[in-house]
Amino acid sequence: MENIFSKMEANSGNVLEVDVKNPLDSPHVKTELLGNQDSQEQRLLSHEDVLKKEEDDIHQRSDSDDNEDANLDQAATALEDMLTKTEDFTSRSESAHDTKENIAQSLQGTSFESEIILPKLALCDRKEKKRESKSRKELEEEEREKMQVLVSNFTEEQLDRYEMYRRSAFPKASIKRLMQTITGCSVSQNVVIAMSGIAKVFVGEVVEEALDVMENQGEVGPLQPKHLREAVRRLRLRSGIPNGHPHRLWFRI
């Protein structure tokens, strides 16, 4: 019984952590809080977004056309291997419940665990919440494992779409050329990386909002420009898009 409560507490702790770290997850977090006792998949969906952002750029870079990035590709796979191997060593179990026990064991030491479980679990909760706020790596590892479970259960269409989501990126050369034409002076590589990433997030926001618009209007099929324009209008109201020349957009047609 105590284990179930501690598991729920640990998970709600995770949810709060995820919320603080990534407000992006707010729609998912709400569904999580409502259905905390429900299946693993809702939790997986919320952590999916976090992981996507963490690992996305590695795949982005492995697909770019620069010569430098061929070496970076090797380094990226090496780094990923390093990270996943440390996962295998440190995460001794699959559920939050077991890692909590491990933390309890490592904290308390040896002999009195079996005798005085209740107060130690109470202590461990507070300590563990501190530890969880510090050990982001453990959270990340758990999320990665859950992501792996989720991705392994994807249908083929979902896998295809997920691969496109992770791998698609703007070509750095074009972005660099565009920005240099605008500024008139050279831009550094970090700036190009940052701008490409932000542009991709921007596309994602517009497309998701447009899909919402389409759903509200009860239509199906590919997105139409009218959905995109309505999405942009809504995002502007929410100040998600910078708006230096409001008149230019509508004269283009």
């Binding site: 992006l24 779409r161 791998r167 703007f170 932000i198 596309v203 997105l223």
Partner: protein
């Protein structure tokens, strides 16, 4: 054939010389392929409409242009630096988190590559 090539070259020259703001949105499509993959990844149909892709490309270019102009006004005027971009997106949590992640990952990858190269150099005498 030669005439067609000449006119084609002239057309290209005009495109290259013309100012970017007005014509780029009407002429060459920079991101058609990548945008299609991206739209599919974000939830659209597998074959999005060409008009949608064009509209999105214009939106992206406008977005990048706006950000660049604003970044040029912040910090060191006339130059775009990473800190300026981070400052501009500080209100938007998604973009801010994404930029932070990307830059952190980039640093980690640079370190990994450097360490990898050093190991390679150290391991050669074996």
């Amino acid at each position: 054939m030669a005439q067609a090539e000449e006119s084609f070259e002239q057309f290209e020259e005009e495109e290259a010389e013309a100012p970017l703001g007005a014509t780029l949105s009407g002429r060459k499509r920079l991101f058609s392929k990548e945008l299609r993959c991206m739209m599919y990844g974000f939830g659209d149909d597998q074959n999005p409409y060409t008009e949608s892709v064009d509209l999105l490309e214009d939106l992206v270019i406008e977005f990048i242009t706006e950000m660049t102009h604003k970044a040029m006004e912040i910090g060191r005027t006339g130059r775009v630096q990473v800190e300026d971009i981070v400052f501009l997106v500080r209100k938007d949590s998604r973009k801010y988190a994404r930029v932070k992640d990307l830059l952190t990952m980039n640093e980690e990858l640079k370190k990994a590559r450097k360490a990898f190269d050093e190991v390679k150099y150290a391991g050669i005498p074996n």
